[in-house]
């Protein structure tokens, strides 16, 4: 069936092209006509938009070869240093390249369409959660109700933000990393007409990135009294992950979706990301510092990962030294236990995932502090004083008895 169709098409193209080659034509004219047709086909191949066009061009190339193969000797001389077979092969090679590219486009088109669908659904979900958060935040501000109701509102607000951040992390992992898998850079090799429609028809991820960043900045700069340290830690992690993904796929997204405003998009998003990072970082470190202070853990000032580690390290070492001086009292051990609870229960357990994902402390730093803690524990352990006291008391009693006996 396919062969029959091929034969019919070939005959059709041959019939279309026949005529001028017969009769008295000059060799130069034959060469000119061949070159014109060749260039026309080359241009069509380069600008082919779909596989059916490429297939029809295959027939046309075959027709061109059939039509001119009787003039091969002449064309070999006329086209020198190229040859007739050489240029036909080149044309077929271009067809093959374009076919491969079009297959990639088809594949990428499907992926991008799917990602575009995901963007739409994420947009709706983000908007829904934003509405809930905004209305709860407004209710908290206006709250003149009982403390119980206010606590309830704050809890719901925090929960809505948590859900929103979860959604953000999901979006980063499934959606934006999905764009990374699409290998957007492949599109840059393709003719513009091949990518234009795919891009125009799909949702622009730059818009959702921009709106997400702006919303986060607004939240961080508005009423944060209702939020707790773990909220700020989570927001810091989301920001970190967002920046990381932007660094990985930002260039490709700008290339594809930025269009003529690519530079503006870059400036705007990168400036917002910087602003977001500054706000998230400032709020998170301040909240962490406040929490430790409330638990009577006085660290030296810190506002970044290294200074936070240095502050803990220095605190543990100083406390260890101080414990040796308080060996006969329970004070050193009490402060150890207080810090031990915060370190193990909060920093390592409750906040552990954020501490790791946000790289607040590295595994090596955590392990070093754990070792220092063991040392502190050893030094802070209160000594068992009952035996020496009893021994001293017994000795005193004996001495007193001896004295009494001697006097009698």
């Amino acid at each position: 069936m396919k062969r029959a169709v091929y034969t019919i098409l070939l005959a059709f193209f041959l019939a279309l092209n026949s005529g001028s080659i017969h009769g008295q034509t000059s060799d130069y004219q034959v060469k000119q006509e061949f070159e014109t047709k060749y260039n026309e086909l080359l241009s069509l191949v380069q600008h082919a938009k779909n596989l059916s066009v490429i297939d029809s061009l295959n027939y046309e190339i075959d027709a061109l070869r059939h039509r001119y193969e009787k003039k091969e000797e002449l064309l070999d001389k006329a086209l020198y240093p190229e040859s007739f077979i050489g240029v036909i092969d080149q044309l077929n090679h271009n067809v093959s390249l374009t076919r491969t590219r079009l297959i990639i486009i088809e594949d990428q088109r499907e992926k991008i369409a799917s990602l575009s669908g995901q963007i739409s659904s994420y947009k709706k979900e983000v908007a829904y959660l934003n509405d809930i958060s905004d209305s709860l935040n407004l209710a908290i501000r206006r709250a003149e109700k009982s403390e119980k109701e206010l606590t309830n509102l704050v809890q719901r607000y925090r929960h809505s933000l948590e859900k929103r951040d979860e959604l953000m992390l999901n979006m980063i992992d499934s959606l934006f990393m999905g764009y990374k898998d699409v290998h957007l850079n492949r599109f840059t090799d393709l003719p513009q007409n091949g990518t234009g429609n795919i891009i125009q028809d799909s949702e622009n991820p730059l818009q959702i990135i921009q709106s997400v960043i702006e919303k986060h900045i607004t939240i961080l700069k508005s009423n944060t009294r209702s939020l707790q340290t773990e909220d700020f830690l989570r927001m810091y992690v989301v920001q970190n992950r967002f920046s990381e993904v932007w660094n990985q796929i930002g260039d490709d997204l700008l290339l594809l979706y930025g269009g003529e405003d690519s530079r503006k998009w870059r400036q705007s998003i990168e400036s917002d990301l910087h602003d977001w990072h500054a706000s998230a970082s400032k709020q998170m470190w301040a909240s962490l510092d406040l929490y430790l202070e409330q638990n009577e853990i006085e660290l030296t000032a810190f506002d970044n990962n290294q200074s936070f580690y240095d502050a803990i390290d220095s605190f543990v070492k100083n406390a260890t030294d101080a414990s040796q001086e308080k060996v006969l009292t329970n004070d050193g051990y009490e402060s150890f236990q207080s810090f031990f609870t915060v370190w193990n229960e909060k920093i390592k357990k409750d906040w552990g995932p954020y501490v790791q994902q946000g790289e607040l402390l590295t595994m090596k730093q955590i392990s070093t502090i754990d070792q220092d803690m063991m040392n502190w524990n050893e030094k802070a352990q209160p000594r068992p004083l009952l035996i020496p006291i009893l021994f001293t008391l017994s000795l005193c009693v004996i001495v007193i008895l001896v004295i009494v006996l001697v006097r009698k």
Partner: protein, 162 residues
């Protein structure tokens, strides 16, 4: 006077011997084929200069133009058609010409070897082909082929006269 000639005889003999000897030492490669497989179609610039980059020749078409068109400013040459046969002779014509000029290359010049009259009417779209080593003129507008080899050309003329 006779004395002087007899004195000069050995000198002339020596000069003659040297000339013959040097002629015998001339290095010649024979059976060279200069044929151009396909004609060159060259567009003259504003000074009338045509340049064939592939086969390496540059000349001015104005002298041909002067002979063919005279002072008729209304007639213009679009493209100069040029082909070379196996002997190295250039065949030159153009639209609005009545002749094909067969030119022999000499030192920094082209020398007219033959001027072949093609028709009374000016050529509209002439073209050259090379077939079996022979140059043909194709009048593409009327699908007519004219052989430009000496014998055939003459035969054609005779046939036309008869």
């Amino acid at each position: 006077m006779n004395m002087k000639l007899s004195h000069l005889f050995p000198v002339l003999l020596l000069a003659g011997t040297i000339t013959v000897a040097s002629a015998c030492n001339k290095f010649i490669v024979e059976q060279v084929n200069y044929a151009q497989p396909i004609e060159s179609v060259l567009e003259p610039n504003e000074k009338g200069v045509v340049q064939d980059l592939r086969y390496g020749i540059t000349f001015n078409i104005k002298p041909f133009e002067q002979k063919e068109l005279g002072d008729q400013d209304s007639l213009k040459i679009d493209n100069v058609r040029l082909i070379r046969n196996a002997q190295g002779l250039y065949f030159i014509t153009a639209n609005n010409f009545r002749h094909v000029y067969v030119m022999q290359p000499v030192e920094s010049a082209l020398e007219l070897k033959k001027k072949i009259r093609i028709s009374e009417k000016r050529l509209v779209a002439p073209a050259f082909n090379l077939r079996d080593g022979e140059v043909q003129l194709v009048k593409t507008e009327v699908n007519e082929v004219i052989s430009l080899s000496d014998e055939e050309n003459q035969n054609e003329r005779k046939e036309k006269k008869s």
